[in-house]
């Protein structure tokens, strides 16, 4: 139950941050997961998913509202990817995912370094 609340809170905070323009929020949410959960096997996937969702959901909403096809193709063209409209989408989600992942990973790694080590 505690984990579920934690996860939901994290995703909501990350999402709100992104919606308000603070695109880096998933990094700190991931870091919070790492510091609060400690276990990398749990915290890192949670951070990753929260980052992904925080960037995916607004994109999905924009797709439903406006359609992102022409925008995606245009961005691909501007970036030199020809007509590969999927690439900006993948790149976008990758950035969000990496922010959450690295936040969680970094926090877990530091926690493991500084936590008391039993004999």
């Amino acid at each position: 139950m505690r984990i579920t609340v934690l996860v939901l809170s994290g995703v909501i905070v990350a999402l709100l941050g992104v919606l308000l323009g603070a695109w880096w929020t998933p990094f700190f949410v991931g870091a919070a997961f790492g510091l609060l959960i400690h276990r990398p096997a749990v915290a890192i996937p949670l951070g990753t998913v929260s980052g992904l969702l925080a960037w995916l959901l607004p994109l999905a909403a924009a797709q439903l509202r406006y359609g992102l096809g022409p925008t995606s193709v245009s961005l691909a063209e501007i970036m030199g990817f020809d007509h590969q409209g999927a690439l900006p989408v993948v790149l976008t989600l990758f950035v969000g995912t990496l922010l959450g992942l690295t936040g969680a990973w970094l926090a877990c790694a530091f926690w493991m370094l500084v936590r008391p080590q039993p004999r």
Binding site: V18, L19, L20, G21, W23, W24, F27, W55, P58, L59, A62, R65, Y66, G67, L68, P70, T71, V73, S74, L75, A76, E77, I78, G80, D82, H83, P88, L91, T92, V95, G96, L98, L99, T102, G103, W105, L106, C108, A109, F110, M112, L113, P116, Q117, P118, R119
Partner: protein, 825 residues
């Protein structure tokens, strides 16, 4: 109880932390900062405020908006194709709303154009643009715009218009920044636009002036002179056109007391070296900064010769075809202003269009407005130049040019009495350019838009300086007129087609009086036309430029004149057809001469088939035409066959393409009227005639075409050889339109020079005052957003040679698919 002693963390924890730090640092770095060609990924791809907002920006719906600075409510109605109809209750509000609408759809384009003019491109693209910025700051568009602004009196209506327009642009900038709706290109380039000022609008006017009439022709002439000699240069590149042309103002002309035109003198080694250094520098600048000759058409037919009984007017200015286009179509209505047509985003006026009584369009007049001066200096007088018998101190202006990812660069610009010093390699060279004369051209356009008859139209144009334009006119009572308004510099003495000494004797002393510049009103044959040709005959008493590279060779004008002067009355449909006319006037002259030269010649079967195609050709450059392909390649071969040996033997340092138009006029003239001219017997070639060169060119050509297009001439259709492309202004090739096969060439009224062709009719307008029908179209769309339905929605109509109706706001309102913005204070 003692606490348990801590164990040191295992080594893998350190490795884990190090790896996490490294990966996190890399991720955060590329998220926060640009890396190589990549923008900062975080802000760029942020789904709510990054480049993805392009999708929301592409939507245009009914909206109620509050704009700071409005005095009364304003209505903006958009047709389904994006044409904007702005209706305001005060002039102030009209211009403010125009600024807002322009910025809403074209802010990035406007920002790029002002940056170009003010020498600030390096700030957003880095040192690659530094040479361009240095040149622009030297040339002085910014100084001119500042001077124009400071000279505007407080009571001048155009001052109020510029201020209101800037307010509208800034309203949009503020709104877009607050809502994270700036054009995606700002996000991708990682900068935000600075506030708009009236000077920025004047800079954009300066950009256009530069594109249309800042030329390097005197430098080219100096280089030709040095390598060809004065006699051949004056023979091949004369002041008056050697070929038959159709000037629109046949005279009679007033008597003038002006200095006689001198014969060509020999250029010195030092002058040639300086010219070469500057020529190379200018040649390295991006396309569009140096005028390469214009190509636009306009004409009018008086009511007496029109089917409808009302005057007809047609105009199609030929410019670089870009996405977004250079134009934004709109109607502007306020108590004192009712005008429809196309505007330049960044400026608050309609440049080409109509009001309730008159219609107008323009082409570039192409008279010489650029003069180079070699300043006399010596070591005993550092920082000085000799002028009018005394040593004068250069004035200096300093600039700091910010450079993206680099240190700002300092630039000192020296100014002589003639203008800015733009080269100090070899002789110090300054440039006198009419575009640097502060002139209130926007005010002129306001008055043109308010004119109700020819007198008011002509009076308004009296203050137009640069670039010189052929303004065609037609009104609602059947009158037509054409006046080549602008500054025609008069030089006291010397050879203005070459760089001149800067010691004072050869200075620009004034301009041709307004009443004596080329102009015609209600001519007896009821037609007038311009297509960048020399406007006047050989008996015009003033020097206004040379035949080569100042004026067009005249084939479009000849063809337009040929069609308009045929018996019978003309309709708006005829105007539309003439705008897309693909008949090559030069081909109609030269192909018969080629066929005559081949008469009796032994031909291969492929050559004989090619000849058959030429025999049955109507001289139209259509994509399905085989003869068009043969002709176009043939003319290139014939020019090369004739002139390349001269270029090689004389070591001419100017690309032949630079003077292609001049050589074309020569070759046309000599082939038809002087077939034994010495040009055909180039050094190393031996004695021969035009016919010999024609035959040799043809044989070489057919072999070349077989290599390029295959052995079967029936497949050599022009569409395979000739394509057109509309280029994205940010140089994103993926956002271009085309290349796509297209008809026309540089000599046809449907102008399509170059391969692929990137210039052409940037706007087509046809007006019939008899039926009160107004039509127009430009290639592109109203929005710069490539995700918008209005990015390329007009291209197909334009490509097909069709026109859209230019509706008034009242006529457009009931149409399907309109959207309305209600702007409130």
């Amino acid at each position: 109880m003692a606490s348990a002693p801590k164990r040191r963390p295992p080594i893998r924890s350190f490795i884990n932390v190090a790896a996490a730090i490294l990966v996190t640092a890399a991720v955060l770095y590329v998220a926060f900062f640009p890396a190589g060609p990549l923008p900062a990924l975080g802000p760029t791809f942020n789904p709510t405020t990054g480049a993805w907002t392009m999708a929301a920006d592409a939507q245009v719906g009914n909206q109620a908006l509050r704009l700071h600075g409005l005095q009364q409510p304003v209505s903006v109605l958009f047709e389904a194709n994006g044409t904007a109809h702005i209706t305001a209750q005060t002039d102030h509000d009209l211009f403010l709303a125009t600024g807002y609408v322009h910025a809403r759809f074209r802010l990035f384009q406007m920002d790029l154009m002002r940056r170009q003019g003010e020498g600030r491109l390096s700030e957003i693209v880095g040192k690659a643009a530094l040479d361009t910025d240095r040149f622009e700051l030297q040339l002085g568009l910014l100084r001119t715009a500042q001077a124009e602004w400071s000279q505007l009196s407080a009571s001048d209506p155009s001052r109020d218009a510029l201020i209101a327009y800037a307010q509208g642009v800034n309203d949009r900038i503020n709104e877009a920044e607050a809502a994270h709706q700036l054009d995606a290109m700002f996000t991708l380039l990682g900068y935000q636009p600075k506030p708009w000022s009236p000077i920025d609008s004047l800079l954009i006017k300066g950009d256009m002036t530069q594109t249309l009439n800042f030329t390097d022709t005197p430098l080219v002439m100096a280089l030709l002179n040095k390598s060809l000699g004065a006699d051949l240069t004056s023979e091949w590149f004369p002041v008056l056109p050697p070929n038959q042309q159709a000037p629109y103002d046949p005279g009679p002309y007033p008597k003038a007391s002006t200095a006689p035109i001198e014969t060509m003198g020999q250029v010195t080694d030092a002058a040639a070296q300086s010219a070469d250094a500057l020529y190379q520098r200018l040649a390295a600048l991006p396309a569009g900064l140096i005028s390469q000759g214009g190509a636009s058409n306009n004409w009018a037919v008086a009511g007496a010769k029109s089917v409808s009984g009302g005057a007809l007017l047609a105009g199609d200015p030929h410019l670089h075809l870009t996405l977004p286009a250079i134009w934004f179509q709109l109607t502007m209505d306020s108590p004192s202003y009712h005008v429809a047509g196309v505007s330049l985003p960044g400026t608050p006026v309609v440049l080409i269009g109509h009001n309730q009584h008159i219609a107008w369009s323009l082409t570039d007049a192409q008279n010489q407005q650029t003069f180079f001066y070699s300043e006399k200096e010596d070591k005993a007088h550092p920082g000085m130049y000799f002028w009018n018998g005394a040593w004068q101190k250069y004035r200096t202006v300093s600039y700091e040019i910010p450079v993206l990812a680099g240190q700002a660069t300092h630039l000192d610009v020296k100014l002589s009495i003639h203008g800015p010093v733009i080269s100090e390699r070899g002789q110090t060279t300054s440039v006198w350019w009419a575009g640097n004369l502060p002139s209130q051209d926007l005010g002129v356009l306001f008055r043109v838009g308010q004119a109700a008859n020819y007198q008011q139209f002509r009076d308004a144009l009296r203050d137009w300086h640069s670039p010189t334009h052929n303004f065609v006119y037609a009104d609602d009572v059947g009158n037509i007129g054409l006046i080549s308004a602008g500054y025609y510099p008069l030089v006291a003495h010397g050879q203005p087609w070459l760089p001149m000494p800067g010691t004072g004797e050869d200075d620009v002393t004034g301009t041709i009086p307004y009443d004596q510049i080329p102009q015609v009103y209600n001519p007896p044959d009821h037609i007038i036309w311009s297509a960048n040709q020399r406007q006047v005959t050989a008996s015009y008493p003033y020097y206004i430029g040379t035949a080569s590279n100042f004026f067009d060779p005249g084939y479009r004008a000849n063809e337009i004149h040929r069609v308009l002067s045929q018996p019978g009355k003309l309709s708006a449909t005829d105007m539309q057809a003439l705008q897309t006319d693909t008949r090559d006037f030069l081909a109609a002259e030269m192909v018969p001469a080629l066929l005559a030269s081949l008469s009796g010649e032994k031909l291969t079967s492929t050559e004989a088939t090619a000849v058959d195609f030429l025999h049955s050709w109507d001289y139209r450059m259509e994509t399905s035409s085989v003869a068009a392909t043969i002709w176009w390649h043939y003319w290139g071969w014939y020019l090369t066959e004739t002139f390349q040996p001269w270029w090689k033997s004389r070591g001419i340092g100017v690309d032949m393409g630079e003077v292609w138009d001049g050589l074309t006029q020569d070759l046309e003239t000599w082939t038809l009227r002087d077939p034994n001219n010495r040009v055909f017997s180039a050094p190393g070639i031996g004695s021969r005639s035009a016919g010999d060169a024609e035959r040799k060119s043809f044989h070489k050509l057919i072999g070349d075409l077989v290599k390029m297009y295959g052995p079967d001439p029936r497949t050599w259709t022009y569409g395979r050889a000739h394509q057109r492309v509309l280029e994205n202004v940010a140089h994103v090739t993926g956002l271009n339109y085309g290349p796509r096969p297209d008809r026309g060439d540089g000599n046809t009224p449907l102008a399509a020079g170059g391969y692929p062709s990137t210039h052409g009719p940037s706007w087509r307008m046809v007006v019939d005052w008899g039926t009160h029908s107004f039509q127009g179209v430009y290639p592109g769309g109203q929005s710069e957003n490539p995700a918008s339905a209005w990015y390329t929605n007009r291209v197909d109509t334009w490509w097909s040679g069709l026109l859209d109706p230019m509706l008034s706001a009242d006529m457009a309102a009931p149409a399907v698919g309109t959207k309305t913005w209600s702007l409130r204070p």
